[in-house]
Symmetry: C2
Subunit: 435 residues, 2 copies
């Protein structure tokens, strides 16, 4: 308890799970601390639009302090939690700050995983942070600039080959955007190369694109991607990635794609705090490092420690894990808030968490999407309209809604992308003179 | 001449000068190459709004290729020009690309200068690039976060002291924005500190703020700054800057301000290409490295080499150098285009360049500005409305106008700043626990 006599609730992570939990606790008589290493909440489902030059980082990020400003029971703390002490009930940040808790909620999510090939990371960036997005944007734009300057045809080709690894929603969205960049956005921008001649490969180990969706939607996505010039290679494993390109398959089926731009959308792994928490509590984890949680989202044997979102493995509803999407985290955040209140009141919360699946939407390009709503499915323009509506609705601030809507309208009518900045590292000095 | 038989014009620099020259040459029968090390034109007068969290970089940057897409005589080249060979008439980029020219226009502008104290750069960033702006934004926001976490009162105070060096338009705009951030934007965002208690110092070596403006406007600016909580110290020299703060004056008058955030808006120096060009052509330079140009903006004795914008020193109109503002560069770009055409036609251009001064506007905060239009002066809200109109007008793309207008309206009515992202380096690990 604090001086105020109110129980201390610490939430680690200001993503969808942590933030929605914090907001759902706004009327609780507690001392709430939300700790995140970033000062903003990021609307991750639109991050690929930053990576592909439609939106700016500021459009999809809202300061956590702004969101919780009027919530008097809440304190926001900027810090990178590295230590969780379950016995003595405190967390500590790498900056040296310690916070004691009576109840802990961990919602630190996941980062991308290279399946044991961490050396691929530098050649095939994934998309989790704002910095990832601006780095991917830089690589895509630099590739065309380098191709324009490159005299050697084989090397020019390698700059104009793009490989996206993994055909889940993020991979499909990235590949679709790459197709649009080549065929629409950059049309006419160059004098020596024709951006339309870029080749975009979408590589997936499983047998179809959007493996989590019904088969007919996978097929619809594949057709749309093909029209955008994307070559979809399903049932194909990536066996090697280096600076020059990727190797697909092995043995006789082995194939090489020379590509200077490779994007990783294949796998995720739970945040490293999960491992620590598992060691300290004896909780089980799956291969991806997610923690197996109880029906009330607490850890087994630790009724005051909750884990939600991408860090949690919840199988009590269907026997299969819930997917790692924003909706699951949002609903778990709301449930966890009620569970925390019940726990602090000494009540037992009996009703297990139940995920209400509002349906899934994946966009493939301008005016095109697929949607799976269980009883009915959508493809094409109606699905895209639904996608636009849902994403605008969930943006936190009114200002962001206006900004995002403006830029989507701009992109829809002009096919341009306004945020095509190359920032950070300049062009590689290895490019040779074509003259 | 090229294969096409058309003369080759190379423009180095895609700022206001180079870009407006390129556009003014759109109907000329030439092969035009615009070389810039960035892929975008930056609307620099609004860069301080990125540094202070109102706008995103993408809002004030437009890809050069986008702007010149339909101009068929123009090629955009991404590259950092490091070598100008006046004898053999070529330029070469650090990436190794060489471009021959018949006519050369150099408009590479200026960067900030620390008057021989380059060691101050790391403690007092200046504001010239997008990266500068996001770095300054990071420092401002981190300062409040660190203050919130700091237990020691003296150290907390140092985090809440802000020093802006130089009270020209940029310094005044930055200091005004810092005042608004403290008193309006962050109000209520923190739990331990009160952002309103931040102290903002604006230090100027000359006797008044906005030394380039009439005295009554300097006075108006000073009053407005004071109302925003900014302490203006004129006639005060900065003699030392380190990580802990700044030293003002020397001898008995010496004074120390402990401040963890120091911003540099004091001096500029011509881009380093100027030095090279001076050595190669024998052109004179002033203390700031600007090249003395002829009445037609060419270099003395080199009628096919033109220098404009912040890199040029033009004294033929009033005997005094023209100011380093966007309007001068824009008008010189247009004039240079005509002079280049005349030169290529073998005509002598007799009429010297004349700057038409449309007036100067500096904004100090939300709804406040000062304007000097020669015959009449404005201060307060009317000046601010004029400032808003002029800046929206000069933004290159319709989309940017909408985005900037939206965010200004948002800021005006809510006093919030939407783009408050801390990106790049996280919080310094040296912060100690206040608990």
């Amino acid at each position: 308890m604090t001086e105020s006599g109110r129980p201390r609730v610490v939430i680690v992570g200001g993503g969808f799970g942590g933030l929605y939990a914090a907001r759902a606790l706004r009327r609780a008589p507690i001392d709430l601390t939300l700790i995140d290493r970033r000062n903003f909440h990021l609307f991750q489902p639109l991050l690929y639009q930053v990576a592909t030059g439609v939106l700016s980082p500021g459009d999809i990020a809202v300061p956590l302090r702004s969101i919780l400003r009027k919530q008097r029971n809440a304190t926001v703390l900027l810090g990178d939690v590295r230590e969780i002490n379950v016995e003595q009930r405190y967390v500590r940040t790498v900056e040296g700050l310690r916070r004691d808790f009576d109840v802990l909620l961990v919602a630190t999510g996941a980062r991308h995983s290279y399946f044991g090939h961490d050396e691929w990371a530098e050649h095939a960036p994934g998309l989790k942070t704002v910095e990832d997005a601006t780095e991917i944007r830089r690589r895509i734009l630099i590739a065309y600039e380098a191709a324009e300057q490159e005299a050697d045809p084989a090397r020019r080709r390698a700059w104009m080959n793009f490989v996206v690894v993994g055909a889940g929603p993020t991979g499909v969205e990235l590949a679709g955007a790459l197709g649009e960049i080549a065929h629409e956005t950059l049309r006419g921008d160059f004098r020596r190369i024709r951006p339309q001649r870029a080749r975009i490969y979408l590589v997936e180990g499983l047998e179809r694109a959007l493996p989590g969706y019904p088969e007919d939607l996978s097929e619809a996505a594949r057709r749309t991607l093909r029209r955008l010039g994307v070559q979809v290679r399903t049932g194909t494993l990536v066996t090697h990635i280096d600076e020059e390109g990727v190797t697909l398959g092995s043995g006789e089926d082995q194939r090489r794609i020379d590509a200077r731009t490779v994007l990783w959308a294949a796998g995720v792994q739970a945040s490293s705090l999960g491992r620590q928490l598992a060691d300290a509590t004896g909780a089980e984890t799956d291969k991806a490092g997610r923690l197996v949680v109880e029906p009330d989202l607490s850890l087994p044997g630790h009724p005051s420690i909750f884990v939600i979102g991408d860090l949690a493995l919840y199988t009590h509803q269907t026997g299969k894990p819930l997917p790692g999407v924003a909706q699951v985290a949002i609903q778990q955040g709301g449930y966890a808030a009620r569970a925390i209140e019940a726990h602090l009141d000494g009540r037992r919360r009996r009703k297990p968490f139940r995920y209400f699946d509002p349906g899934s939407l994946a966009t493939i390009g301008r005016g095109k999407a697929v949607g799976d709503f269980g009883s009915f499915r959508l493809a094409g323009f109606p699905a895209w309209v639904a996608w636009v509506g849902v994403h605008i609705f969930y943006l936190m601030e009114f200002e962001n809604r206006i900004l995002v809507a403006t830029q989507w309208a701009w992109n829809y009518f002009t096919r341009r992308r306004g945020a095509r900045l190359i920032t950070g590292q300049p062009l590689q000095p290895e490019i040779k003179d074509p003259a």
